[in-house]
């Protein structure tokens, strides 16, 4: 009953209609006898009360549970009056506005996109359309192909200029279970459009650069983590095995393919696929990057977990030609990141920092000529691992934002 009433009020008070019920209270009394019924009747002549139960004061009888709502100015008088009259009362709702908003949150979280919650693929897809339509001067949505199961792979193009000399690419969600990764890409886009006017760095980045964001690389895998298996990593591509499915997209790129840190077994979590770029998702990204290769300067791949900022190579311990500069950028970006919440990050080349692994998007991007290539492993370090609590989405995204902006800005100023 209470929930229905709140819902009815909620539809009236939601969003831009503001704080209609701030500070208003709902009281409950149970008049013990006719005398107390009369006292309540007297109260209704002194102040405006809105009866929830029963529907009007005339219907009140002894021992009935009576709920009524009083405006801010009236609430303290009501309490004084009831106390003076010796009528016991209970404050059911202390602040009606807060109660409504809380109800709205839980009732409608099923329908609304949130930057501080993990969003289903449907919500992310709808959000990409909404961003492109709401911020049409800054954001365009492109479809770069379909996933194995036919789902669209959306890329958001951010920037003022249609012909930038420098472009950047940020990919999230190549591994399905790393939910904080797509959450970061969504956060990034929102921050970009939200602070374009007010933040000098963001304004410069979006005016002089084009940033492409792929919020969910492995769409099918991401959906699968919501419907079937929260710990899924690979895509849902066909495999030669009857029992196992899926390829590790981050072992499927054509750079020393399957030579190390990847498996030829279809049942393995690091199955490299039947051949380099065997997976349609990989091919779609390869095609897209090659289309923009002449201007592309930065490639950022976002994963979780371990709190690391790394750069190529993953497939070999050999240092890349610009190892020193990438190491310095990583060091400075990490220092900025840590300054927010003291989150400890390590940095270094992938192979020596975590393990050698061939077929990664990062290595491929670097060898294509994108010399500023970085990979993030976001929070945490194993306490929650892939199951990072939603309460950590905001701080994780804020600190990562600082580091990503540092990298993008560094390259822009080159």
């Amino acid at each position: 009953m209470m929930l229905c009433i709140l819902a009815l009020i909620a539809t009236a008070s939601a969003g831009p209609w503001g704080q209609l019920f701030k500070g208003e209270k709902v009281f409950r009394v149970q008049p013990k006898n006719e005398e107390q019924v009369k006292i309540i009747a007297t109260l209704t002549t002194l102040v405006q009360l809105d009866f929830w139960k029963p529907e009007s004061s005339s219907q009140i009888s002894p021992n009935m549970v009576v709920d009524f709502h009083a405006a801010v100015d009236e609430a303290s008088f009501v309490q004084y009056f009831l106390r003076k009259s010796g009528i016991e009362y209970e404050v059911l709702i202390d602040d009606l506005q807060m109660a409504i908003e809380k109800q709205l949150d839980s009732q409608y979280s099923g329908y609304n996109h949130s930057y501080e919650k993990y969003n289903t693929w449907d919500k992310v897809a709808a959000w990409t359309a909404e961003m492109a339509s709401t911020y049409s001067s800054l954001v365009t949505r492109e479809e770069i192909g379909n996933s194995y199961k036919g789902r669209p792979m959306y890329v958001l193009k951010l920037g003022k200029s249609s012909t930038s000399k420098k472009t950047a690419f940020i990919e999230c969600g190549i591994h399905a279970r790393e939910w904080i990764s797509p959450a970061f890409c969504q956060w990034f886009v929102n921050e970009a459009v939200r602070t374009y006017e007010t933040d000098k760095t963001m304004n410069r980045l979006l005016s002089k650069m084009t940033i492409y964001v792929l919020p969910v690389f492995n769409v099918d895998g991401y959906v699968y983590t919501w419907t079937n298996n929260r710990m899924w990593r690979k895509n849902l591509g066909e495999s030669p095995s009857r029992y196992c499915t899926g390829t590790d997209l981050n072992r499927n790129f054509n750079v020393s393919w399957c030579s190390v840190g990847a498996s030829k077994s279809p049942c393995s979590e690091t199955y490299c696929g039947s051949s380099p770029e065997s997976e349609i998702e990989t091919k779609n990204v390869v095609t897209f990057i090659r289309k923009h290769i002449s201007t592309m300067k930065t490639y950022i791949s976002v994963h979780s977990y371990s709190q690391l900022l790394m750069f190529p190579y993953a497939f070999t311990y050999d240092h890349v030609a610009n190892y020193k500069i990438l190491n310095t950028i990583a060091e400075k970006a990490v220092r900025q990141l840590t300054s927010l919440y003291n989150t400890a990050y390590r940095y270094g080349a992938v192979a020596e920092t975590i393990y050698p692994a061939a077929g990664a998007s990062l290595d491929w991007a670097y060898d294509e000529g994108i010399k500023y290539a970085f990979v993030f492993e976001l929070r945490d370090t194993g306490r929650y691992g892939f199951l990072l609590p939603e309460s950590e989405i905001k701080p994780t995204c804020k600190e990562t934002m600082v580091a990503v902006k540092y990298i993008l800005n560094y390259v822009l100023l080159q």
Binding site: Y118, N229, E269, T353, T381, G385, L387, P389, E390
Partner: protein, 221 residues
């Protein structure tokens, strides 16, 4: 030979030490985290294996307190089947006494009207139901035993999730549970289900009796 403290050989060794420490010294109200390796050396012992000597920072995770430095030695046997041998020194004085909280937990769970049963801790969104935090830590301590026993230089284990826990009421002296946990090995990226029979009381700590690695499922864990 000194090795880089931020690179993987040192960090994998540190993780195995962390599992060892939690299994031996932890409780449902006292969980340790090792972080920030300051110094690491690697010694080859011919015919035996590799010994790592580490110095890192230690934190009491439950009480969110830094508890000083941990100096540890871990020997990984070359047969990769024997559990790594760990020795460690850290300052016990800095660590909050959890006895009262442990006793309270023991009493509370001993007196439940029905045997406790739960699954997926944390849930998909990282949420843990109120009152279940210690059940989760208990499962973590038991998993630490498994992770320590199975650690090599080529693994890096974390507890991904408690798949299920079922209380078994057999004795008044111990709490007993049947846990199935999902371990995550960062190196192979595999999710490994493991079933454990776990006994615990505040005085004697944790015991993992029967335990078995479960087959990897084709779909849902």
């Amino acid at each position: 030979m000194e090795i880089p403290p931020t690179h993987y050989p040192a960090t994998r060794a540190m993780k195995a030490v962390e599992h060892y420490i939690n299994y031996h010294y932890g409780s449902p109200n006292k969980i340790f985290t090792l972080h920030g390796v300051k110094k690491a050396t690697l010694e080859d012992i011919p015919g035996v294996g590799h010994k790592y000597i580490l110095q890192c920072s230690m934190k009491d995770m439950v009480n969110e307190k830094d508890v000083g430095v941990c100096n540890a030695e871990i020997l990984f046997h070359q047969d990769q089947k024997t559990a790594p041998k760990v020795e460690c020194r850290f300052n016990m004085d800095q660590i909050t006494n959890s006895q009262a909280a442990d006793n309270e937990f023991f009493t509370r769970i001993s007196n439940l009207p029905e045997p406790l049963t739960a699954e997926y801790i944390p849930d998909s969104y990282g949420h843990i139901a109120p009152g279940m935090e210690q059940i989760r830590y208990l499962g973590y301590l038991a998993a630490c035993y498994i992770m320590w026993q199975n650690s090599t230089e080529g693994t890096l284990y974390n507890l991904a999730q408690i798949r299920s826990v079922q209380q078994v009421v057999t004795s008044a002296d111990f709490l007993e549970f049947d846990y199935t946990v999902l371990l995550h090995d960062f190196v192979s990226q595999e999710i490994i289900p493991w079933q454990m029979q776990v006994l615990w009381n505040p005085k004697e700590g944790i015991k993992v009796e029967r335990n078995a690695r479960k087959p990897k499922s084709c779909g849902h864990y």
